[in-house]
């Protein structure tokens, strides 16, 4: 089985008009038939939210990849992911803590959410702190979904940089990834149009044409096309937020 991964990220109107860069970031690694990916959304209220998002997406993905290479983490025969993910995220936090201290900043200045996945043909997991969505859509049409966790109010969420982050780390494991399966990771700006109203999976009139196109596209064309979708004028009428979408097709 092969992974074909596409990634696009578009700055929302709120940041476009106020000349603030996109606060979302994403990163992925494919090692043979193992996919590792993460999308982070920097908190608007944090001065270094964008740097935080970029750091965590990259570092968490790379740390997992190293762990897989060292066979400490074995996707395909991993009974449980939570403890190892917790330890790897803790390492990423510690690294950023040092960088923050050297700049006389604190970890919370880099606040961001984290939504990611690890997947092999046999099994995998979605991992999640805060808002955004992760979806594994099986070729049969069934979905495994990791939903956003919001605070009391819809615009309140949890960050990987929070002191009590471990209480908000959610891991959703799944078995068996077949050809035709699709894994999506997204920031909360993309979910109003990419996720169905019941929040049980992708909004099919959105994802089906996208997946059909991507399945026969080159990486470059696919990324460009996905970028155009996220930058479509219609998305601005839906959300003023940054929109990031990572889509991995199993073939």
């Amino acid at each position: 089985m092969k992974w074909k991964v596409f990634f696009a990220s578009a700055t929302g109107k709120y940041h476009l008009t106020s000349n603030i860069p996109c606060q979302d970031a994403g990163h992925f690694v494919v090692m043979g038939d193992v996919l590792i990916g993460a999308v982070c959304d920097g908190a608007g209220s944090a001065s270094q939210g964008q740097a935080g998002a970029d750091f965590f997406a990259r570092t968490v993905t790379e740390l997992i990849a190293e762990s897989v290479k060292a066979k400490e983490l074995v996707p395909g025969a991993q009974p449980e992911y939570r403890e190892q993910l917790r330890a790897l995220i803790e390492r990423a936090r510690a690294r950023l803590g040092e960088i923050a201290a050297s700049q006389e900043l604190e970890l919370r200045d880099f606040s961001c959410t984290l939504v990611g996945c690890i997947s092999s043909p046999e099994e995998g997991c979605l991992f999640h702190i805060g808002d955004g969505f992760a979806v594994y859509l099986r070729d049969t049409g069934e979905s495994v979904v990791s939903q956003p966790e919001n605070g009391e109010y819809a615009d309140q969420t949890y960050f990987v940089t929070d002191k009590d982050w471990q209480e908000h780390l959610r891991v959703t494991q799944f078995r068996e990834v077949n050809r035709g399966g699709l894994i999506g990771l997204m920031s909360d700006g993309a979910s109003p149009f990419a996720i169905n109203r019941m929040r049980t999976g992708f909004y099919r009139p959105f994802i089906d044409p996208v997946a059909t196109f991507l399945s026969s596209a080159t990486e470059q064309n696919g990324n460009q096309a996905l970028q155009k979708v996220l930058e479509d004028e219609k998305t601005h009428a839906i959300t003023t937020d940054d929109k990031t979408l990572l889509l991995a097709l199993a073939s």
Partner: protein, 224 residues
């Protein structure tokens, strides 16, 4: 290779949709008194009024069905989001197959509902607005009864409206439990502004609640 993905739906799924079907008489008599032109202008007003309201633009789903010609019922394009609604240019001529047009409206609503359900989109009670200036030239009684029962079952709201003196008010009234109204003069513009306001109100209403629509006195002929 193209980098444009065709047919991607970009809608806000956190909204509930408000479906509207316009069933419009395009029979020969609509040519008289400039009615068809005024109707076309009214549709343009509806389109711009819906687009000017951000919530109605996102929530509204519009389908136009015309009837006329050689007993033709025609869907003027597919269902569209109000923000993308381009009014068709209607042409008048021919017969008045009102029954077949209403049958098409009921069927379209059911299939649109099941599509929305399958897509995980929820929706408000659909509205069918029927505009006619004459007598049906086909069988209409059976479908009128079905419209009444669909209303009773809270499946749809039917608004039959007569245009001018030749409209058969008794026939139109048979399509809704609330009876029919008559357009005062040819106030198509006022009618469609009112309709747009109604869609705005429906879009904002909570699910299951009742919606208080604006009074119709801007366009309806009052009983004397």
């Amino acid at each position: 290779m193209s980098t444009v993905i065709p047919d991607v739906a970009l809608i806000d799924n956190s909204d509930e949709r408000a479906p509207l079907v316009l069933v419009l008489d395009c029979s020969g008599s609509m040519q008289e008194d400039n009615k068809i032109t005024l109707l076309n202008e009214g549709l343009k007003t509806l389109a711009s009024e819906l687009k000017n309201d951000p919530i109605a633009a996102r929530c509204g789903r519009v389908l136009v069905i015309s009837f006329g010609g050689d007993s033709n019922v025609e869907m003027m394009g597919d269902w569209t989001d109000a923000m993308d609604f381009t009014p068709p240019a209607l042409v008048a001529g021919g017969l008045t197959p009102l029954g077949a047009a209403m049958r098409c409206a009921l069927d379209e609503i059911e299939s649109q509902k099941s599509q929305m359900r399958a897509a995980g989109v929820s929706y408000k009670r659909p509205i069918i607005m029927l505009l006619s200036d004459g007598e049906p030239t086909d069988e209409w009684r059976q479908v009128a009864t079905e419209c009444m029962s669909a209303e009773t079952a809270h499946k749809v709201n039917v608004m039959p409206i007569g245009i001018g003196n030749q409209a058969n008010k008794d026939v139109l009234a048979a399509f809704s439990n609330k009876g029919a109204l008559n357009l005062s003069g040819l106030k198509f513009k006022e009618l469609f502004i009112w309709l747009s306001r109604s869609i705005q109100a429906v879009s904002r209403a909570t699910t299951g609640g009742t919606v208080q629509l604006n009074p119709v006195d801007s366009w309806a002929q009052m009983q004397t």
